[in-house]
Symmetry: C2
Subunit: 196 residues, 2 copies
Amino acid sequence: MSDTHSLDTLVQALRRLPGVGQRSAQRMAFHLLQHDRPGAQALAQALDAAVQQVRHCRLCHTFTEAEVCATCLDPRRDASKLAVVETPADQAALERTAAFRGRYFVLMGRLSPLDGVGPQDIGLHELLARASDGLVQEVILATNFTAEGEATAHVIGQALKARGLTVTRLARGVPAGSELEYVDLGTIAHALVDRR
Amino acid sequence: MSDTHSLDTLVQALRRLPGVGQRSAQRMAFHLLQHDRPGAQALAQALDAAVQQVRHCRLCHTFTEAEVCATCLDPRRDASKLAVVETPADQAALERTAAFRGRYFVLMGRLSPLDGVGPQDIGLHELLARASDGLVQEVILATNFTAEGEATAHVIGQALKARGLTVTRLARGVPAGSELEYVDLGTIAHALVDRR
């Protein structure tokens, strides 16, 4: 129907969001137009502002509005340790633990040959350059424990070791607070192998 | 972190979408900024355009960019039948059946006293005026078969009957293609009572 062109366009635009299908997009458009038009305008402005202002930190590749992000600039950070994570959300998860005070390199993705994501897309070259800056003594691979995250850690680890760097990986094991009876076999097997 | 202000603002704006929490909003913001900046700009433009152009049909209250929507203007529609639905999505579901060629009144919501949604918010006054235009001979209540939808149908039905109008309700019963063994008891009970 031509008299709902802008509504149809909005639904199609919302469908480009990850995890949003036709029905979710329709529900979102209905909600915004019927109940929260200020929210729709705020979202439009936030999208424009973020697209214009957010870029990648020159050193660690995470999102920032400056040339170098606040974490990389922080002089209290331990420059001898570099954690490699997939996304800013993963970085935030590590930060919340307050157990790591080193620096980060954010891949902004993971190796995924089937999706056409190769080493250049995760900044492997820049990571190798940063890890070889003479300050970094240990690179901690903190990619996800998924198939793609493991493969990414393997490829990065090989490249770093080839340059004589110390490479570690986050420990695999039984999650805190869990009962063995309910933990999957693979996790228990890893916890046995990596026992200390 | 102040160097990610526009990113934080975007995440907060995305959280205003229905069904989107903190993690979904972060994932959406990451996807848009890392993989689909044109999509972010398209969404911003679509939001602005929809907020500016979409309004409600003067006759049936559905979303339209004109004063009166295409369905209300269509002369091939049967003006003697008026279906009352909650949302444009419900209207679209009825349209897809091709089993109804009458006109619509879209409540753009449902009665929900706990959320402060009263008769004026669903346009009850306008519905009564439209149903009393002399053309409408039957009002078909097609609100959802939820507690709120049923209550809405009850209230509207009482008001319409008080004006001497013929009021019907969509049939309740066993869904097409289903096996009785797997249909819930309430549905089977309704199908028994409404047997024909």
